[in-house]
């Protein structure tokens, strides 16, 4: 069994698309939520989102290649390239032949789908663009990363809604740990700020129209986000031998299904995933210093997640520092777990706990330490990152200081 470390981090996010900007935005609680600029909003009640605003695909792709890539695939490729560069990794053929590429996304090329269907149904176009399917297929991001970097080992997409990114990283972790692959590029991506998608979310009546305030009594719902985060995972021994930067060590991965409600969180199911991750990591609940929560900012999630933390951690829950990054990043669905994994790895690296942004007042149903609004210097040796998806699919990772 290999010890597995994170040696490269690449992000495309609403608060910047370098890991430095990303980290400073989280620490300063600089929210990426703002008025929607990338699509028309006349027909929407929801006029805000956490958009990636500084992303110009022409800077990253020649026109022919750009035409092949939906926005969600562009994000993944740019994040993957940055992760490889960050890891100071030279992808020699011997490694590339076997390296895994595992990407989580909840949807697929939603911009392509929305545009194509609008042309067909809204404008009575008679034909679709020939690249419609290669752009929108759910595995497009994963395939484009593999093609871009020449990675030829196990390559596939994981779709488990809001847990997709966490499931993808967990799966890659297990494959590197077991020795099945010598290296993995893993993470999550999502770009579904489209009229059709937002209409669908509005119909669920869980959207905030002002901002996202996780764990605050005054929370009004979630805000959609977008982005990607990709990571280089490799055995600790090889990383040390080649003098790679090591951000954190992956210690454990736990999964569960609620088998209960299609949308509501089930504290029992969430707590089982947390306990399973702790057992896999061989660490006790009282050893966890920090939890990067799912914390969507809906009344039900934040209350249910708090109950789950109490169930999984018992009396030691009150000593946990818990924060949600969604007040800053919004909820980027399949990318959320990956962006939050980046936040958690950087917490261990910098020994600073990023705060829960937009926190206004305590809620009796949410009675833990949520690190409100201000970052905290604190020793963090072991941390947890949690994702709980629609469909009752839970995924939890445990990380240790490198």
């Amino acid at each position: 069994m290999n010890r597995v470390v994170v040696t490269g981090i690449g992000v495309v996010s609403p608060i910047g698309s370098t890991s430095e900007k990303f980290w400073s935005g989280l620490v300063e609680a600089r929210s990426g939520i703002g008025p929607i600029t990338t699509i028309p909003t006349e027909r929407l009640n929801t006029k805000i989102a956490a958009e990636v605003r500084d992303f110009d695909p022409a800077q990253h792709f020649d026109p022919k290649r750009q035409g092949l890539l939906d926005r969600f695939a562009q994000f993944a490729v740019v994040a993957a390239r940055a992760a490889v560069q960050d890891a100071k990794l030279e992808l020699i053929e011997e490694i590339a032949q076997q390296a895994a590429t595992i990407v989580g996304n909840g949807a697929g090329g939603m911009n392509t789908l929305d545009d194509s269907f609008w042309r067909l149904y809204g404008q009575n176009a008679t034909r679709a663009h020939p690249l419609t399917i290669p752009r929108l297929m759910a595995n497009a991001a994963c395939s484009q990363v593999s093609m871009d970097l020449g990675l030829k080992g196990p390559t596939f997409t994981i779709a488990s809604a809001c847990s997709s990114g966490t499931h993808a990283i967990g799966q890659a972790f297990q494959m590197v740990r077991s020795g099945q692959v010598p290296l993995a590029l893993a993470g999550g991506t999502e770009a579904c700020i489209t009229v059709g998608t937002i209409k669908g979310w509005e119909a669920l009546r869980v959207m905030s129209t002002d901002t996202c305030r996780p764990f605050s009594r005054t929370r009004t719902g979630l805000v959609l986000g977008e982005g990607a985060a990709m990571f280089v995972l490799e055995p600790r021994e090889r990383a040390m031998a080649r003098g790679a930067p090591i951000y954190a060590e992956l210690l454990g991965f736990g999964m569960s299904a609620d088998a209960n409600d299609i949308t509501a969180i089930d504290p029992d199911g969430a707590a089982r995933a947390m306990r399973s991750a702790l057992a896999d990591a061989k660490v006790n609940g009282e050893d966890i210093d920090y939890v990067n929560a799912h914390g969507t900012g809906t009344a039900l999630n934040d209350k249910g997640e708090t109950a789950a933390l109490h169930k999984a951690f018992g009396a030691s829950a009150e000593h946990l520092a818990v924060s949600s990054s969604k007040g800053v990043l919004g909820h980027s669905l399949g990318a959320a777990g990956a962006l939050e994994f980046a936040a958690t790895a950087l917490t261990l690296h910098h020994q600073i706990i990023p705060p829960t942004a937009n926190f206004e007042e305590a809620d009796p149903d949410c009675d833990l330490d949520y690190v409100p609004n201000t970052a905290r210097n604190a020793p963090v040796l072991t941390a947890m990152s949690s994702s709980f998806a629609f469909g009752g699919l839970n995924a939890v990772l445990v990380l240790g200081r490198a």
């Binding site: 119909a203 009546r205 869980v206 409600d261």
Partner: protein
């Protein structure tokens, strides 16, 4: 068809039960309605009557107990959303508000 009958039909369809079982006094929670059922019922009402009911999922989860609708009556009181009759009253109120006085 009276509004109450349309309301009964929409609720019955969402909960997959015969409309005959529904009287104005029938409580939604007694029918086993969950949060997502309420959201689907509200969608059905909005589509049928071309009205907008400003209800959030968080409210829907409470509604099946003793929640309110987010709709205020003429006296400014929150209208209840617990029984089939409550739902019909809200629909009537919103339809009336659409017609210019």
């Amino acid at each position: 068809m009276a509004i109450i009958d349309d309301v009964r039909a929409i609720i019955a369809k969402s909960l997959n039960i015969p409309a005959e079982r529904l009287t104005p006094e029938t409580r939604l929670d007694e029918l086993g309605a969950e949060s997502l059922d309420v959201i689907e019922i509200v969608f059905g009402l909005e589509e049928k009557f071309d009205i907008t009911i400003p209800l959030k999922a968080d409210d829907a989860s409470k509604l099946t107990g003793s929640g309110t609708s987010g709709i205020k009556d003429n006296a400014g009181q929150e209208m209840p959303f617990s029984t089939v009759g409550d739902v019909a009253q809200i629909v009537e109120k919103l339809i009336a508000a659409k017609v210019p006085q």
